[in-house]
């Protein structure tokens, strides 16, 4: 962005003349920079005026409003995220299943605060067990919802997972075709159409979640769906270079599942009052950017009130009995490590969530590091290989 003025960058963003990664960086910058946000607002208004003055205004037929109004009254579109508009007549799935998921996640997260004897590290306070799939996590503790509601929840999650699996398979098929060079992308219009549709469906599936999630996590999901859409746009150009980034995208989408599910747990109002407002979660950060859907990944959610980090971990490696994974914090300024504990063996070759109690002296921008060490390793700093670590903070 150095060689372009702020307004040029804003216009590039608004006119879709940015690469997906640059878009993400820009969006982060706007969130942090009021001056840039102000320029964006001004540029957006300029383009609106341009659109306004570029053609005579015409009115849609009266049927359009009738259709919108009918949709709203018949509950065939989502509600605003506000209680005032909710109806008591037959709750649709997009109300039921986020609510049910929220309740169940709250119950799951409750487990974080129960000390476990099986937990090796001195600082780790709890674990919620292993989640081999999102579905299992959500249905494992059914105490508050009806069987019918649970079934709805299972069905919707299954659809979501099918979408992701189908997307992954389509991508694999496409890559094979590209490798063979016998099939030109121009012959795959139907498949591309199906992919676009899948992304649309995926986005729709998450909209209910987005309305319920905390702002921080909403933005996270929104950003990832945006990235996915960008890749679809790229895919639509018939160019062999389009294969670049496909696997990043699949990885993003797979990771999205966990984020979305966790975000329901942070929804205000769904958390038992004794845990306060949304568990006090104030932010999230990635420990890495998975390059493929099979790579390990981790997301950390900071609970400032409890001085805890909730980690959602995925695709962790299968280790021999001679090895184990250690969680550390690293003070960026002093370059010193503090051992938090050892990850439970149930997470080896699996995915799951844990909550870690951080030392009191942990600085706000401390880095989280997961390393692979010899079993029984004790030391002041890691000696083994780094598996995951907090990414560098964004440049100012």
């Amino acid at each position: 962005m150095n060689q372009r003025s702020n307004s040029q960058v804003c216009f590039d963003y608004l006119l879709d003349h940015m690469e997906p990664k640059e878009r993400k960086r820009f969006e982060r910058s706007v969130d942090e920079d009021d001056k840039l946000a102000s320029t964006l607002l001004s540029c957006t208004d300029d383009l609106t005026r341009f659109a306004e003055g570029s053609a005579p205004l015409q009115k849609p037929s009266g049927d359009v409003w009738k259709a919108i109004s009918a949709d709203i009254r018949n509950n065939t579109i989502d509600f605003p995220a506000d209680k005032a508009h909710r109806t008591r007549r037959g709750l649709p799935w997009f109300v039921i299943w986020p609510a049910a998921a929220g309740i169940l996640l709250a119950l799951n997260l409750l487990q974080f605060f129960w000390p476990r004897s099986g937990f090796d590290g001195p600082g780790l306070v709890a674990e919620n067990g292993v989640q081999d799939s999102v579905t299992e996590t959500l249905i494992v503790r059914d105490t508050a919802v009806s069987e019918e509601q649970l079934q709805t929840l299972r069905d919707e999650i299954a659809v979501l997972q099918e979408s992701l699996t189908g997307l992954n398979q389509s991508m694999q098929a496409k890559e094979l075709e590209l490798e063979s060079r016998d099939v030109r992308l121009t012959n795959l219009e139907e498949e591309r159409e199906a992919l676009v549709q899948q992304i649309d469906n995926l986005e729709q599936n998450y909209l209910a979640l987005l309305d319920m999630a905390s702002p921080v996590l909403s933005n996270e999901i929104d950003s990832r769906v945006g990235v996915a859409r960008e890749y679809v746009s790229v895919l639509q150009n018939d160019d062999s270079s389009t294969v670049n980034g496909i696997w990043d995208r699949v990885g993003e989408l797979l990771a999205l599942t966990d984020i979305a599910v966790l975000s329901v747990g942070t929804r205000e109002g769904s958390v038992p009052p004794e845990f306060g407002d949304g568990f006090g979660i104030v932010g999230s950060e990635r420990l890495n950017e998975p390059e493929t859907s099979l790579d390990p990944y981790a997301l950390a959610f900071q609970n400032a009130e409890a001085n805890q980090t909730i980690l959602t971990l995925g695709n962790l490696p299968e280790l021999s009995r001679a090895e184990e994974m250690h969680l550390w914090t690293r003070d960026r300024e002093l370059d010193t490590f503090v051992s938090i504990g050892t990850l439970p063996r149930e997470l080896h070759g699996a995915s799951g969530d844990i909550a870690a109690q951080l030392p009191e002296q942990t600085s706000a921008d401390a880095e989280l590091v997961i390393t692979v060490e010899d079993t029984g390793f004790v030391g002041d700093e890691p000696m083994g290989t780094v598996l995951l670590r907090t990414q560098n903070p964004p440049e100012p």
Binding site: S7, Q8, L14, L15, D16, H17, D34, A37, S38, L40, L41, S42, C43, T44, D45, D46, L47, T48, R49, F50, A51, E52, G53, S54, A55, P56, L57, Q58, K59, P60, S61, D63, V64, W65, A67, I68, S69, D71, I72, R73, I77, D78, F79, P80, A81, D82, A84, H85, E189, R192, E193, L207, D211, A213, S214, P215, Q236, D238, R267, E268
Partner: protein, 206 residues
């Protein structure tokens, strides 16, 4: 979901009216906050004010009345659904709605035609409509605004205008604009940049 800070208590006045002593932007923000609270009349006011612009943009992009109406419907159902997520730091309510309209229209255009229609492409002139059409609106404030903008846009060089049209209404990349206008890519890029700079000058001098 937490509300942005502007969600203060509801104003007493009918906020859909554009009054000289009120800032329209604030009025529409208040209206949108009512939509976020589930007010259908507030959505109706937004629709009455902005649906012509949404429909016109969709029509300009898609050149199909039925599809443009579908987009208009989609945009306002999105407004209904996503009102609570509006961020006033990044766009005015009007621009937020307009950007949704543009984005949805271009998505639809891309779905309809997977690749740019280079064979049948023609240049677009923003002024190929009679000016009096702009006045065919019930809201005097809205009409006046549109006419003033149009007047200003007439001072843009035609090649700049065309580049901006292709970028805005067709979602073309700079490379595609160059191909459409039979220009070197660098020249097309320059035209887009200068056009946008000029646009800012025009509106900032208002």
């Amino acid at each position: 979901m937490r509300r942005p800070s502007f969600y203060s208590p509801k104003p007493e006045k009918l906020v859909g009216q554009i009054l000289e002593d009120k800032d329209p932007k604030l009025e529409w923000e208040a209206t949108l906050s009512q939509v976020a609270n589930g007010s259908e009349p507030a959505l109706r006011r937004l629709y009455a004010e902005f649906s012509p612009l949404v429909y016109t943009i969709a029509l300009r992009v898609l050149n199909d009345r039925r599809e443009a109406e579908e987009i208009t419907q989609d945009v306002f159902t999105k407004v209904w659904r996503l009102a609570s997520r509006y961020d006033k730091r990044k766009a005015s309510v009007k621009s937020w709605i307009v950007m949704m309209a543009r984005s949805a229209s271009i998505d639809k255009l891309r779905k309809r035609s997977r690749r740019p229609d280079t064979d049948n492409r023609h240049t677009y002139d923003v002024f190929d409509y009679p000016l009096q059409d702009v006045y065919d609106q019930k809201s005097p404030a809205f009409t006046k605004a549109a006419a003033l903008v149009r007047e200003k846009l007439e001072s843009l060089r035609p090649e700049y205008r065309t580049c901006l049209e292709l970028a805005y209404f067709k979602g073309y990349s700079q490379k595609e604009i160059a191909a459409a206008m039979n220009l070197p890519e660098g020249t097309a890029k320059t035209y887009v940049r200068r056009g946008l700079q000029k646009l800012r000058q025009l509106f900032n001098s208002a």
